[in-house]
């Protein structure tokens, strides 16, 4: 019974944390002399109010989920991929190039090739830091972040030069964007809304990533390397290869996210000079979604929908109650902070339970360990 309650509490913890973040957000709204109930009603309405709103939420959730799936793989392999933004961009560039140039083929084939190109583009952009980490011991956090910067400038160069929309090239405005994809090369819509096939692909991939991680030898190796590279090497696993593979796959999913943005939402690439202009920061928010989902591919689905809802609903809220857009950003930030903090609470509770379980298992003297934390807490408190 006790155990069930514990499990239930742990499962609800992210929800509780989200509500707590909204409560703090309510205080901020009160300071702005806005009725929080009205504001949050608008938020809910904007995210789930009607089929269009819900479709928008899912459209926003799709890239978060795809990036998040890659994050599940890389973080499970103990490689930290902060390069989702860059990987999305490169994936999108490669996919767009295929979509604009292979116009002689049937639509479904070009779309498939484009998605594959996006996958490959992201894989290359993730694989480079992977190789640097595995074989030259370059910290992947630094290298992936720097690869983001390179990707942005590459995108800016390509969209202003070689890949610019031929129509724009003749105009004085020279807006840095590619030509529009022809209708047959776009991802089909699922309902009379903006919801596109990409969302379905993402959900199917979530199931596949789950199978990959827990039901294949490849996933087993990635997880083993992530848990203990020494033990993995000892067991005959080529550790470096799987480090590269974890980052490469992670990048590939981000690349696919970039491709679906072009083929399902915008139908062209356009840059405002920054990476978020194209990605909507999905490369970063996907990390949060994956962490929110406990690095579990299937739980990342609801996590992505939640963040998608916040993004879409916040727009509506902003319009209805006339709050500055900075508040929306702050609200998103609050949710992240609270959820990450709740994770710490969950871990602490888990450690406590484990200390107990360990004692039950008749094991080496845990009292010393428990004593340690007690003292540390005492010191921290003083």
């Amino acid at each position: 019974m006790r155990q069930k309650l514990d499990t239930l509490f742990d499962a609800l913890l992210p929800v509780i944390a989200t509500l707590a973040a909204l409560a703090v957000g309510a205080v901020m709204l009160l300071f702005l002399k806005v009725n929080p109930i009205v504001a949050y009603a608008a938020l809910w309405d904007g995210a789930f109010g009607n089929s269009n709103a819900f479709a928008e939420t899912l459209v926003k959730a799709t890239p978060l989920l795809l990036v998040g799936l890659g994050i599940c793989i890389s973080f499970r392999g103990d490689v930290i991929n902060i390069g989702g933004e860059g990987q999305m961009i490169i994936g999108a560039v490669l996919a767009t190039w295929v979509g604009l140039n292979f116009t002689g083929l049937p639509g479904w084939l070009t779309i498939t090739l484009s998605m594959f190109a996006g996958f490959v583009g992201g894989a290359i952009w993730g694989g480079i830091p992977g190789v640097l980490k595995a074989y030259f011991r370059v910290n992947e956090i630094l290298s992936t972040v720097m690869m983001n910067a390179i990707a942005v400038q590459l995108m800016n160069f390509l969209l202003r030069g070689p890949m610019i929309d031929p129509a724009q090239a003749e105009l004085a405005s020279q807006i840095p964007q590619t030509a529009r994809l022809e209708e047959i090369f776009r991802l089909p819509r699922l309902a009379p809304t903006r919801l596109h096939l990409g969302a379905l692909i993402a959900v199917i991939l979530a199931v596949l990533v789950y199978i990959l991680l827990w039901r294949t030898t490849l996933g087993y190796r990635i997880r083993a390397v992530g848990q203990n590279p020494h033990a993995s090497r000892y067991a005959g696993i080529k550790v470096q290869r799987y480090m590269v593979l974890a980052l490469l796959l992670s990048g590939a999913f981000a690349g696919l996210a970039g491709a679906t943005q072009v083929f399902g939402v915008n139908y062209r690439m356009i840059t405002d000079g920054s990476s978020s202009g194209f990605t909507g920061s999905a490369g970063f928010n996907g990390i949060v979604a994956a962490l929110f989902g406990g690095l579990h591919p299937l739980l990342t689905i609801p996590a992505s929908i939640l963040f998608g809802a916040l993004l879409v609903g916040a727009n509506k809220m902003q319009r209805v109650v006339q709050v500055p857009s900075a508040l929306i950003t702050a609200l998103n930030g609050l949710v992240v902070v609270f959820v990450v903090s709740s994770e710490i609470i969950r871990k602490r509770r888990q450690r406590k339970r484990e200390a107990v379980a360990k004692r039950e298992n008749d094991t080496p003297p845990p009292p010393a360990g428990v004593g340690d934390t007690k003292i540390q807490q005492a010191e921290a408190g003083s």
């Binding site: 020494h230 080529k238 107990v356 039950e360 003297p365 004593g371 003292i375």
Partner: protein
């Protein structure tokens, strides 16, 4: 075992614990335990891992509150709600894991948390105090040294000084020898005796019989939270008797071993040169061989190249020169996978960092070496049902005590974890096995189990290379012993009949300190 009455003796009781009960959810750690400490004695507290020794002492040190029972200090009942209370009552504990700030000096660590230097630190003044205190108890440490510069033994001295500086009369040492080298253990014993001479009392927690009978005046034994012996004079009780009190059944100290019947050479190490992690030469021309159906020991003082030999053999470390042959195939300087696929099993020294992945389940850990082939996987897809079945089979066969095979192995005790590793290695039916310190840190019952498994391998016709620092273990298990010193083999001796022979131990001892066997034999011949 009856309680030896001490209340009638003239020596006053300094601490008395009566009927202590401490429960953790699902486990009774201390079940009405009585404990009496005499003034000026070293009291050994024995028990297997998880017997409740540390729990009892954590209650005494004020870290835990007992649920029932009373603590008397000098005859007065006391209630401790924090370690500070216990220290004020004169009771201090040195934990197994030190609690020191590495970047601070010895004096700074000792003053940590005290009110005495109120605002200005005036360190030199306190340096002198600390030095004087150390002098008094024979605890030599430079007060100005930073903690990270000190050896583990010296750090332990700082912990003891910390308690002495706070004026404790009763010092609880929790498994103090677990982290120390043999010479340091001797030093610790000297210190403890010096403290007794100055009127302090010591409680010495350990699961090592030898140490307790060497240092303690009286011994108490705990088993599964119950006191099975209370205050027995250590002179009047045999080691076998203590062992029986600890584990509740007779422990066979000399293992019956059938005469060896070695077959052909399985492993051949030819003139290996290799470097250690720091890039210094660790192995300098090591050659040895192991035949099927025998256990070959490698003896030596820690750090003379034993780890490196096992790593070169298993493929975890590159060698500069020479080669290792397994049934004629070269395995050195190759991927670890090659050895695994050619029948090599490896029980590494470091169970938690190399031998297992702590956060993964028992199932995930036992398939680490055979997940590549059926029945565990088919064309890259894992069959988790088959894996779980295998894990459950091994759990039963190897007596791994755990509720479920989905438990992460970090929650297992040392003995259980070692059984998981051995189960994995042995179930692969290896032709050759290298085991490094397979019984280190395990309690008596677990040691015996592991040793039996190794002997079973030998009887099944496998070649076993046993690298150990426990000479007794090597003598009772091995058929031949190589002795290594500074990366060179000093010589090879045969162990006949498993009986410990004084002359043999003497020869091995000389080789362990750097005298080659041929030189010993030459001198022997001259003497005759």
């Amino acid at each position: 075992m009856t309680e030896q009455s001490s209340s009638k003796s003239e020596v006053p009781l300094i601490v008395e614990m009566r009927g202590i009960v401490k429960r953790f959810p699902g486990v009774l750690a201390n079940d009405h335990v009585d404990f009496k400490l005499l003034h000026g004695e070293i009291h050994g507290l024995l028990g297997e891992n998880g017997a409740g020794k540390s729990t009892l002492m954590n209650v005494l040190a004020g870290l835990y509150r007992q649920e029932a029972g009373t603590i008397f200090v000098n005859g007065e009942p006391k209630v401790f709600s924090s370690p500070r209370d216990a220290i004020q009552a004169g009771i201090g504990m040195v934990h197994q894991h030190f609690m020191l700030v590495p970047s601070q000096t010895v004096t700074e660590n000792i003053l940590l948390g005290l009110d005495d230097p109120r605002f200005f630190l005036r360190l030199p003044e306190y340096d002198a105090k600390v030095a004087a205190l150390g002098e008094r108890f024979g605890l030599k440490v430079d007060p100005r040294a930073k903690i990270w510069q000190l050896s583990v033994g010296e750090q332990q001295r700082v912990e003891i000084l910390k308690m002495l500086y706070r004026g404790v009369d009763v010092l609880i040492m929790d498994e103090p020898t677990a982290v120390l080298a043999p010479q340091e253990i001797e030093g610790l014993f000297v210190t403890l005796r010096a403290m007794i001479a100055q009127g302090k009392s010591v409680i010495f927690i350990s699961h090592k019989l030898q140490e307790v009978s060497a240092i303690a005046d009286r011994v108490s034994v705990l088993r599964r939270g119950v006191c099975t012996a209370s205050g027995v004079p250590s002179k009047g009780v045999s080691r076998q008797e203590l062992a029986r009190l600890m584990v509740g059944r007779e422990v066979v100290f000399s293992i019956d071993k059938k005469p060896s019947n070695p077959q052909g050479v399985v492993l051949e190490v030819n003139d290996i040169y290799a470097e250690n992690d720091k890039g210094l030469p660790a192995l300098r021309g090591v050659s040895l061989n192991v035949r099927a159906g025998e256990i070959v020991g490698v003896a030596g003082v820690a750090g003379n190249g034993q780890s490196e030999i096992s790593q070169v053999i298993s493929g975890m470390r590159q060698c500069k020169q020479g080669q290792v042959l397994l049934n004629g195939d070269k395995v050195s300087n190759r991927n670890t996978l090659f050895g695994i696929q050619h029948g090599m099993a490896y029980v590494p020294e470091d169970r938690t960092h190399v031998g297992s992945a702590p956060n993964l389940s028992i199932t995930d850990n036992v398939i680490m070496k055979n997940y590549r082939k059926p029945p565990i996987s088919h064309n890259g897809l894992l069959d988790m049902k088959a894996a779980t079945r295998l894990a459950n089979e091994l759990k039963t066969a190897y007596d791994i005590i755990v509720p479920s095979v989905s438990t992460p192995v970090r929650l297992l005790s040392g003995g259980n974890l070692q059984r998981v590793i051995l189960a994995r290695e042995i179930s692969g039916l290896p032709a050759f096995m290298v085991a490094v310190q397979p019984t280190r840190g395990l309690d008596v019952g677990a040691i015996e189990g592991v040793q039996r498994l190794l002997l079973a391998q030998r009887e099944a016709g496998a070649a076993v290379l046993l690298i150990s620092e426990e000479l007794e273990e090597l003598l009772s298990l091995s058929d031949r012993i190589y002795v290594i010193y500074e990366g060179k083999i000093m010589g090879e001796v045969k162990v006949e009949g498993g009986e410990t022979d004084e002359g043999l131990v003497d020869v091995i001892g000389q080789m362990m300190t750097g005298t080659p066997l041929d030189q010993i034999q030459k001198e022997g011949a001259v003497a005759q």
